[in-house]
């Protein structure tokens, strides 16, 4: 893969105006699939399964099988449309998008084309400095996911060089809503930040609605980022690229930045942008060319004759509208007050993308200050070091467990950090790690006293100083005791005991 030439970000922005657009696919967490009664692998709490075990004849494209629309998926889609401020179509239609690909059982995807269920909305996105931006939504439509191909026999796991491919249809037919924005103008130097904030907002919305697991690392939420540049002063839009496979908020930001820099370098050198899909590579932080994509791609769309138009009753729409949770922005203001965080403390949490994790951690019983300390501290540090989203490292339940273990004195901060590392490594819950690795604070005074007496006996001069009232001299003994206990002791308790034993 040739290395792309990049222009400096600031220079690129000086010469060109970026125009953004996003297609976000949300996997709905319904119990069954979009058009079949097979269990949905994206359902809440679904376990991973062996390939091709979560399939019905419809998902496999077997002859004679017929799709039936999942009513719950329609309700979820309407709720999402409403939360995006969209109008809900009194009648919308499914269409067939025809193309041959082995991950598509029927060799067509059932999607919505000219009559989406939701259209014309907007989303308020909050940026890091607290300012708001309105992202215009063109449409949100229902469709089904495709299966997954695994290419076997090649060195890279890609199709080139593989000698055969395996298909898993478990994901085929998973209900999706695709949210399409209108072109976003005026993003300027904040384009990468806006990209990230937009996707984070969509994630917050679907989470607050409870319609998707919304875990980007699991593909529940997938973003295709469209970027084009136009020279300053030009009216016509430039040629866009569509970067796919962007699986974290951080990557969305980086991918947009990368595309701006790459396209600017090509345009500045007198080249032209190829309209194509680009693949984001997390490891190298670069994009590479996918397939050429033209507006003339011929999917031979036509209305899906196996399904009737979707005509939700007006009462249903109003019922769902009435049941909408407060918007993430309003919700955040309320949370901030409830948790007692300052504006800057709260903004840090939002900007780190860990608000939902924090909220869940608190819901599991942790004190807000403790939850904040862990998510913005050690967990974020590990996440940044690894280039992943903090939420993908550890579950809120485990964090709250960890906090409880420190609060009740079973773990010191230092021990807790060690336990966290083991939890992140997949060794199980904090309780389990503590038990398996014997990392618990020694709270048995007998063991501590034995260690203290030994330390005092080894340092008679220090003992004398303490007895003379020079309490700060105790530090040396405490250090020796903690070392002897391999850190598994509560330093404050050790201090108490040292002073007690010295004056005995």
């Amino acid at each position: 893969m040739a290395t792309d030439v990049l222009m400096g970000f600031d220079e690129a922005l000086e010469r060109y105006e970026p125009v953004l657009g996003f297609e976000v696919h949300v996997e709905l967490s319904t119990a069954t699939k979009m058009f079949s009664s097979a269990p949905n692998p994206a359902a809440a709490g679904a376990e991973s399964a062996q390939p091709n075990t979560m399939v019905a004849p419809v998902d496999m494209g077997l002859p004679g099988a017929l799709p039936v629309v999942n009513a719950q998926a329609v309700r979820y889609s309407i709720s999402l449309g409403l939360a995006l401020g969209c109008s809900i179509a009194p009648s919308s239609r499914f269409a067939r998008k025809n193309y041959f690909y082995p991950d598509l059982g029927k060799n067509y995807q059932i999607s919505q084309f000219d009559e989406p269920i939701a259209f014309e909305g907007s989303v308020e996105v909050e940026l890091e400095d607290g300012s708001q931006l309105t992202v215009p939504i063109e449409r949100a439509h229902m469709e089904e996911d495709a299966g997954k191909l695994t290419h076997v026999g090649g060195a890279t796991g890609r199709i080139q060089g593989a000698d055969h491919s395996l298909v898993d249809y478990n994901r085929a037919g998973v209900p999706l809503v695709e949210i399409v924005t209108k072109p976003i103008y005026g993003a300027e130097h904040r384009a990468p930040e806006i990209a990230k904030a937009y996707v984070a907002t969509i994630r917050d919305i679907v989470r607050s609605l409870g319609i998707s697991e919304a875990r980007m690392e699991r593909g529940n939420l997938r973003c295709d980022a469209n970027v084009s540049l136009r020279p300053r002063g030009q009216q016509a839009l430039g040629t866009r690229t569509e970067t796919k496979n962007v699986n974290s908020l951080r990557s969305v930001e980086r991918a947009v930045r990368y595309e701006i820099q790459r396209q600017a370098a090509i345009l500045a050198a007198g080249g032209s942008i190829t309209q194509e899909t680009r693949h984001w590579h997390e490891d190298t932080g670069t994009t590479s060319a996918g397939r050429p994509k033209s507006d003339a791609d011929d999917y031979r769309y036509f209305p899906e004759p196996d399904l009737l138009p979707v005509r939700p009753a007006p009462e249903l729409i109003e019922e769902l509208r009435a049941a909408l949770p407060e918007s993430p922005a309003v919700f955040r203001r309320r949370l901030q007050a409830d948790y007692g965080f300052s504006d800057s403390e709260f903004r840090d949490i939002v900007n780190a993308g860990v608000l939902a994790e924090l909220q869940e951690t608190i819901a599991e019983g942790a004190a807000p200050a403790q939850a904040r300390k862990w998510w913005l501290g050690e967990i974020l540090r590990i996440a940044n070091a690894r280039g992943v989203d903090a939420g993908s490292l550890v579950s809120p339940l485990h964090v709250s467990e960890l906090i409880a273990l420190t609060e009740n004195g079973d773990l010191t901060d230092r021990l807790a950090r060690q336990v966290l590392e083991h939890v992140v490594a997949g060794e199980g819950s904090p309780e389990h790690v503590v038990a398996a690795r014997g990392l618990k604070v020694v709270s048995d005074d007998t063991a501590l006293i034995a260690a203290i007496d030994a330390a005092l006996a080894g340092q008679p001069d220090v003992l004398q100083k303490i007895r003379d009232g020079k309490v700060q001299a105790a530090g040396a003994v405490i250090g020796a005791v903690m070392k002897a206990m391999r850190g598994q002791a509560d330093a404050a308790r050790v201090r108490e005991l040292v002073l007690e034993r010295a004056s005995a």
């Binding site: 004679g64 059982g105 060799n107 298909v167 031979r300 036509f302 009737l308």
Partner: protein
């Protein structure tokens, strides 16, 4: 030949209930008949002899034990190969599905089984139901029991020939543009295409989803009604299935036969479906049938359906368009024929498998449909075809404001010789000119025999159409017409069909095309009019 194979399904059912005959006897008689005549007729692609006998035995035992059985329990039935059956190959007469056994029954099949009917086997058809002669079957054509050198109609020639040759009392078919009604016409049998949504399409291998309907094939109107009552009704597995309750078709048929009257029934003759291009003998029998109906009290009027002229053009855009998409799944990845070569890509494997697995008519329609849906052509082709469809529906609406049922000859001609049109797709397509409008509008249609054409002694069919959801009206009117004509004939038309089996062989027939008309028609052939 055992006499019981000539009984209607209703009669057989009564005798089974009365204990005069066992289901095993009934099934064995039909299996024997198949063994005797099917080498000539080739109505079946698969015969489930042992399984059918085992099921019959089970039903006989249940009956002996005093179990509650449905009225048709123990009656054998043939099933068009387009319907999925979990215990028999389901190939839609295509190489690409050779040997494929689905993991489920089509809903109509499941309902038949639940009612105690005994599947005898799977019947031949044009590949993926594309054709009007059964000559496009990948497994060889079916022959018309009236004249083995002639076509049995299509696509459901196998089901029609099976009942006409007394290999089964009743059968299931599917009708996308006439595939039940046209074979019924040319074999002297009865066939009904129900209202779209009246019978579940789940498990019917799709040709054109917005046109396909599964329906009954029989030798008598009442038998079709009895099967319709079993297979019809709402199915949550088919999103286009109508959720409403339906009246009993059998009750309507019985009521019609008992009354023998068409008093107060307004019958509309569609002017556009009875033109100069129709065979003289077909027009003659049709005119006579109208006279009988008028004599029975019907008010017969001519109605206009100006847009029917464009129906066939619209149909041959909509059908290939939907078919091109429906048939995309046959790619060898998950099931069906696979042609592999070392070093080939997945795309090459798919292309080679489709090349080898599909016949020429299927390929022709896939290409037509792909073209009709292409960007830049969609509006001109698929788009305008849908507009014509709407106009055809409006013609029906307007006509049904004036009349209760519409009638036409079922087909423009009687059965044509095998081979005559197989290389002339346009001629083959025009054969469905009478039956296609009902599919485009989703209204129900029935085909039933009204005599033999004087010039060739071959069966002529009457098509009756009713407004959507008024299928019962077809059975009532059809039963009256049938009763009037059978009274005249002294029995069913099929009683006049030539004997099959024994010493005759298809070669003898092939050597003497234009077989003389069956005795009893009282007319001389006047030579073909086509």
């Amino acid at each position: 030949m055992s006499e019981l194979i000539r009984w209607s399904a209703a009669e057989l059912a009564e005798r089974l209930t009365a204990g005069d005959v066992s289901s095993v006897e009934a099934v064995r008689a039909h299996v024997d008949r198949i063994a005797e005549v099917d080498p000539d007729v080739h109505a079946f692609l698969h015969v489930a002899g042992d399984a059918a006998l085992a099921r019959a035995e089970q039903i006989d035992r249940q009956r002996a034990d005093g179990a509650e059985l449905g009225p048709l329990a123990g009656v054998p039935i043939a099933i068009k190969d387009v319907l999925c059956t979990k215990d028999m190959p389901s190939t839609a007469a295509s190489r690409i599905l050779e040997g494929w056994i689905p993991p489920y029954d089509a809903t109509p099949v499941a309902r038949l089984r639940a009612a105690g009917l005994v599947p005898l086997g799977k019947t031949n058809m044009d590949e993926f139901a594309m054709g009007s002669s059964t000559e496009h079957s990948a497994y060889g054509p079916t022959r018309n029991p009236w004249d083995l050198t002639r076509i049995p109609g299509g696509s459901g020639g196998g089901s029609a020939a099976a009942v006409a040759a007394f290999e089964a009392p009743v059968a299931l078919g599917s009708d996308t543009g006439g595939s039940i009604r046209q074979p019924a016409a040319v074999t002297g049998s009865v066939g009904v295409k129900p209202t779209y949504g009246g019978v579940s399409r789940f498990g019917a291998i799709a040709l054109a989803s917005s046109l396909d309907q599964v329906g009954p094939v029989s030798r008598a109107v009442l038998d079709a009604a009895l099967i319709h009552d079993v297979i019809g009704g709402h199915d949550p597995l088919d999103a286009t299935s109508i959720p409403d309750a339906w009246p009993s078709m059998a009750a309507a048929a019985r009521e019609g036969a008992a009354s023998g009257s068409l008093a107060g029934v307004r019958v509309g003759v569609v002017r556009q479906l009875n033109g100069d291009g129709f065979q003289a003998g077909v027009r003659q029998r049709f005119a006579e049938a109208l006279e009988r109906m008028a004599a029975a009290g019907a008010e017969v009027v001519e109605v206009e359906a100006p847009n029917f002229e464009h129906a066939i053009s619209a149909y041959y855009l909509i059908l290939p368009a939907e078919a091109s998409s429906n048939l995309a799944k046959y790619d060898s990845v998950r099931f069906g024929l696979r042609v592999e070569q070392a070093g080939s890509t997945t795309e090459q494997m798919m292309a080679r498998s489709r090349e080898a697995g599909f016949g020429p008519e299927v390929k022709r329609r896939i290409i037509l449909g792909t073209y009709a849906l292409s960007a830049g052509y969609y509006d001109a082709y698929y788009g305008s075809a849908q507009q014509v469809r709407t106009l055809v529906q409006r013609d029906f609406d307007a006509a049904f404001e004036q009349v209760d049922v519409l009638v036409s000859p079922s087909t423009p001609t009687t059965a044509f010789p095998l081979g005559q049109k197989v290389d002339d797709p346009m001629a083959m397509y025009l054969n469905d000119v009478t039956t296609i409008p009902a599919n485009l509008a989703g209204v129900p249609g029935m085909g039933l025999p009204i005599g033999l054409a004087p010039e060739d002694g071959l069966p002529v069919g009457l098509q009756i159409m009713a407004p959507a959801r008024q299928d019962a009206r077809l059975y009532r009117v059809g039963a009256v017409v049938e009763a009037l004509l059978e009274a005249e004939w002294g029995g069913p038309l099929l009683a006049q069909a030539p004997q099959l089996g024994g010493t005759r062989s298809p070669l003898q027939f092939a050597a003497t095309p234009g077989t003389a008309p069956a005795a009893g028609t009282g007319t001389e052939p006047d030579g073909g009019t086509r």
